[in-house]
């Protein structure tokens, strides 16, 4: 068959033909068949030309599947794959069995569809979830010896901070427990190449970074030590995607120069397409050239180390603490926090740690949904089996053996399980495609998520479990000696002895469904409640008619920078329709990444304890106007605040003032920032207090050690990238065009990114909790609906079965209300029992969602009470209809039917 692939060969067979050949023709014959066809084709080419021969060839191939299948089904011994002639006969027999089973389901299509749909949904969700959890959480990091990779962090109290150049150089020089350590940064830079200006995600890395991770360049090389020497030509490694997109994907791209924030970098290598989680979101990796540190801060670096074989994490951590103590005296003048130290954690924990609770909650929800779906299917099948007792008894009477009946039931179940599995795998494939498309921005390692053999194996396992449930329950129930067919025959199909055990089983299923739904519904209610709390949070600024965008210039420290931003703000303010405009280095509620430690001059932090931290923003006066942030005390930034002043003027927020100077005025207070206490360091001086803004997430989740917010003015503080905030009189987006013109006139090479209205930024901060609550709530709703169907089915079947008894009871003077109560009790008892168990489970498991909740305790009584009410109402509603039916049974008619 290899010769088929030569370019001058005939057309390649399509997948259907290949499938038919593979399944219907033994391997040896397959080669002969195709080689003969090719020979005929060659003769035709000579006779009629390539076009006609090609058409003939395709026609011939098209006839293969039907011909071969027909031959196989009619029992042609030659077209068989096995060694004995039994195969074809078995296949024909199985085909008949399948036809039979299909006819059986054709008689109850709604039931079959319900089971396939619910089971398929459950299986699909579980399979997709498994694929995600396995790729993101369970699989080891894709680095060689990834389990020995440790993240080294700066431990300040319970917080894990980045390290500084001073920290990293000390660790690199003194440690003995690691094969190597590497530092890296996270950021964005403006890239200029061939007239194209774009923002790229950049990870600056020390030269040992790639070697430490065991990552090699696909083209070119990674870094050598010389690349990291200050003053050496700047070099960079680029990602595969960047190489394709921006460098044309040519090998000649290596050696080219790209301009990052005004600095030329030579591209020396391209990474492979598949990279690990530390590289996946980044496009350019410039080599860091670390200058010898002059102070302890700033803390901009993440550090990773590879643990040496033969040593352990505890020993490495102890050594790091020792190094930290050793260098403490060197920086003591500017850094007095002797309690802060260094710690280590496994790198995979650092990478996926915060996704773990979300994935855990989702996995739990999905598993519960699958359980409910399976129980529901079991319930439905039990009902059907009971109904079919008569049919099967007749079959048995007509001579069908027990084996034959079991075979029929199993085939029926097999079809259900297969259809459910096919649907589920299809759904999972769709879901996974969506997750992969969202990429590493949604989840780390999203690229590694795949519907591969392992995941399909998991799906097969679930399908197998489904098959067991679908097949065994009715089969056992029918064929058990006590409730067996023989008895059904004797009882004429109306006996209630067999039915009692079925009823008991169905009630148990109802109870377990309610037990499963409670924790799911409780989790969903908590998440929804938490989301509603979050939605009501005041972000601290007026979000209406506000336009924001990000402008990032090259990181050049020249006086023209401050002038540029001043001019930009002035010109934007002058635009018609603009009420106020300003720039700031961060954007609430989430896009702030600068926190800084400080030390009040009049109440210094005691030696040996940690300095407090504050959110640090550079902002112009117009920023406060544009966002509607009110001044409480003191003054705004104004013309007095120039670089020539001795002190740097700062504004602080209400929380800062209340935390640092409780009960006193903060105005006029002075403090050191960033541990900078040398004479040449400028001291901060508070000139005003403003209202709070939520910079650390709407839920304040990122607060950490920050005790408030400090604002400095661009006139006195360097900055090259800012968010622009514009308040307009009407639709803020209508201003975008004229703002663009202003920006272009001042700096044609300045890209505008992250354009968002005030509503957009708040919405974006709400997206993740909203999605999570939405997904879990959807699961819970489906599960609740299934439980409703389950209890309804049980009761209506019970009423149907007991019509005669109910009729007699009513005829003998029983009151309809008593009948109603009887049936209701029959349904509500297992439901209540299940709910009791469910609440016990819920109390035990909802605490796992605590990290995801805002403003709601995992055991919030109001939420749990609501859940209980909803479940009771649901159960009552589902029970009411059959109970009502029962109360209206016409005794005369029932007795006539006898």
């Amino acid at each position: 068959m290899g010769d088929l692939e030569k370019p001058e060969g005939p057309p390649r067979p399509g997948w259907l033909v290949r499938l038919a050949l593979r399944w219907l023709v033994p391997a040896a014959e397959r080669a002969t068949l195709l080689s003969e066809l090719r020979e005929l084709w060659e003769k035709r080419v000579a006779r009629e030309g390539a076009t006609a021969a090609g058409r003939w060839y395709r026609r011939q191939l098209r006839s293969y599947p039907v011909r071969l299948l027909r031959a196989r089904l009619s029992g042609e011994r030659a077209i068989r794959s096995g060694g004995s002639g039994e195969g074809a006969g078995w296949l024909a027999g199985a085909a008949a069995e399948v036809r039979h089973a299909l006819r059986g389901w054709g008689r109850s299509p709604v039931l079959a569809a319900t089971i396939v749909l619910t089971f398929g949904l459950g299986l699909g969700a579980s399979t997709a979830m498994y694929a995600v959890v396995r790729a993101v959480v369970l699989d080891p990091l894709p680095y060689e010896g990834g389990d020995r990779l440790l993240r080294i962090y700066h431990a300040v109290g319970a917080n894990r901070w980045n390290l500084s150049v001073a920290d990293f150089t000390a660790i690199a020089a003194q440690q003995t427990r690691f094969d190597g350590v590497a530092a890296y940064t996270t950021g964005e830079r403006t890239l200029v190449s061939d007239d194209v200006v774009e923002r790229v995600r950049v990870r600056g890395v020390t030269t040992g970074f790639f070697e430490l991770l065991g990552e090699r360049a696909q083209t070119g090389r990674t870094f050598v030590a010389a690349d990291g020497v200050p003053g050496a030509p700047r070099t960079a490694v680029v990602s595969w995607g960047f190489w394709q997109r921006s460098l044309g994907g040519a090998a000649t791209a290596v050696g080219r120069s790209i301009r990052l924030d005004g600095q030329d970098h030579v591209v020396i290598g391209v990474l492979p397409r598949a990279v690990g989680p530390l590289e996946e979101r980044f496009e350019v990796f410039p080599a860091l050239q670390l200058e010898p540190p002059t102070r302890k801060g700033p803390f901009l670096f993440q550090v990773v180390g590879r643990l040496r074989t033969g040593t352990d994490t505890a020993a490495a951590a102890a050594e790091l603490r020792a190094i930290n103590r050793r260098i403490f005296p060197i920086w003591q003048a500017g850094w007095q926090d002797s309690t802060s130290t260094w710690g280590v954690m496994p790198l995979d924990e650092a990478v996926i740690g915060r996704f773990r609770p979300i994935l855990l909650v989702l996995s739990g929800a999905v598993a519960l949904l699958l359980l409910v779906a399976a129980t529901n299917a079991a319930g439905l099948l039990t009902a059907r089996a009971t109904q079919r007792r008569h049919e099967l008894s007749t079959r048995a009477a007509l001579g069908a053996t027990r084996t034959r009946l079991v075979r029929l039931l199993v085939t029926e179940s097999l079809l259900l399980a297969l259809a459910g599995a096919a649907l589920g795998i299809g759904l999972a494939a769709l879901a996974l495609r969506a997750v992969r498309a969202a990429g590493p921005d949604l989840l780390p390692r999203a690229g590694a998520i795949a519907l591969d053999a392992g995941v399909l194996g998991f799906a097969a396992l679930l399908a197998g479990a489904g098959l067991a449930i679908f097949g065994l329950i009715p089969a056992l129930q029918l064929l058990a000696p006590r409730a067996g067919i023989a008895q059904a025959l004797r009882g004429g199909g109306r006996t209630t002895t067999g039915a009692t055990s079925a009823q008991r089983m169905r009630r148990a299923l109802v109870a377990s469904q309610f037990a499963i739904v409670v924790p799911l519904l409780a989790g969903a209610a908590l998440l929804v409640n938490s989301f509603l709390h979050l939605q009501r949070v005041d972000p601290g600024f007026d979000r209406a008619q506000l336009l924001t965008m990000y402008l990032a210039r090259a990181d050049e420290r020249d006086p023209a920078q401050a002038l540029f931003w001043q001019q930009l703000v002035e010109r934007v303010e002058a635009l018609p329709g603009v009420v106020a405009a300003g720039v700031a280095s961060g954007r609430a509620p989430r896009d702030v990444n600068d926190t800084n430690n400080f030390d009040p001059v009049d109440r210094p932090t005691p030696v040996g304890s940690a300095e407090p931290g504050a959110v640090w923003l550079v902002a112009t006066p117009g920023y406060f106007d544009a966002l509607g942030i009110r001044l409480i005390e003191g003054r705004m930034f104004d013309a007095r605040d120039t670089p020539d002043m001795d002190d740097t003027s700062v504004l602080v927020d209400r929380t800062w003032a209340e935390n640092v100077y409780p009960g006193e005025s903060a105005i006029g207070r002075r403090f050191y920032e960033g541990g900078c206490k040398a004479p040449e360091c400028s001291v901060m001086s508070v000139v005003g207090v403003v209202e709070d803004v939520r910079y650390l997430g709407l839920d304040d989740a990122l607060r950490g050690t920050a005790v408030g917010t400090v604002y400095v003015s661009p006139a006195q503080w360097f900055g090259s990238s800012y968010y622009l905030f514009v308040r307009s009189t009407a639709d803020p987006l209508a201003l975008l065009g004229s703002i663009r013109t202003v920006v272009r006139a001042l700096d044609p090479a300045l890209p505008i990114t992250q354009v968002a209205t005030g509503d957009d930024v708040v919405d974006a901060a709400l997206a993740a909790p909203r999605n999570l609550a939405g997904v879990v709530a959807a699961f819970a709703a489906v599960a609740l609906a299934l439980a409703m169907i389950g209890i309804y089915g049980v009761l209506s079947y019970f009423v149907h079965e007991q019509r005669r008894d109910i009729g007699i009871r009513l005829a003998l003077g029983g009151r309809p209300r008593a009948v109603l109560a009887l049936v209701l009790e029959r349904g509500m008892k297992p439901a209540a029992l299940g709910m009791a168990v469910g609440f016990a489970v819920a109390l035990a498991v909802t605490r796992f969602s605590a990290r995801l909740l805002y403003g709601v305790s995992p055991h919030d009584p109001a939420t749990l009470a609501t859940v209980a009410l909803v479940m009771l109402a649901t159960a009552l509603a589902a029970c009411w209809l059959p109970a009502w039916d029962a109360a209206r049974v016409d005794p005369a008619r029932v007795l006539r039917e006898e």
Partner: protein
């Protein structure tokens, strides 16, 4: 197709083998049939029928690797049983045709 006897297509294929000198493989058989029947023949059908005839014991086959082509071919030869069945069916047909030749010739 007939269970005990020979079907029409089976018959044609066996005759084509005889035309090829008593032993042949599927390619010349397909070509022979196309030429004589003047219609397109499905290769898969020939392939299936050849093997069915072998099952019935009317043909015998052997594999042969061609030197110049490097392809392996399955050659079929008509067995004694096959020859007997062919002769029988020919005799039966001839008996049925007796006296009808002229009648049909006119048409």
């Amino acid at each position: 197709m007939g269970r005990g006897g020979i079907g029409e297509f089976e018959h044609q294929i066996m005759l084509a083998i005889l035309q090829q000198g008593g032993e042949s493989y599927s390619v010349p058989i397909v070509l022979e049939l196309e030429e004589r029947a003047a219609r397109e023949v499905t290769q898969a059908a020939v392939f299936i029928v050849l093997r069915r005839l072998e099952e019935k014991g009317l043909l015998r086959s052997r594999m042969e690797a061609g030197e110049e082509s490097g392809r392996t071919r399955r050659y079929f030869r008509i067995t004694a049983l096959g020859m007997r069945q062919l002769r029988e069916s020919r005799r039966a047909l001839l008996r049925l045709w007796e006296g009808l030749d002229t009648a049909l010739d006119e048409g």
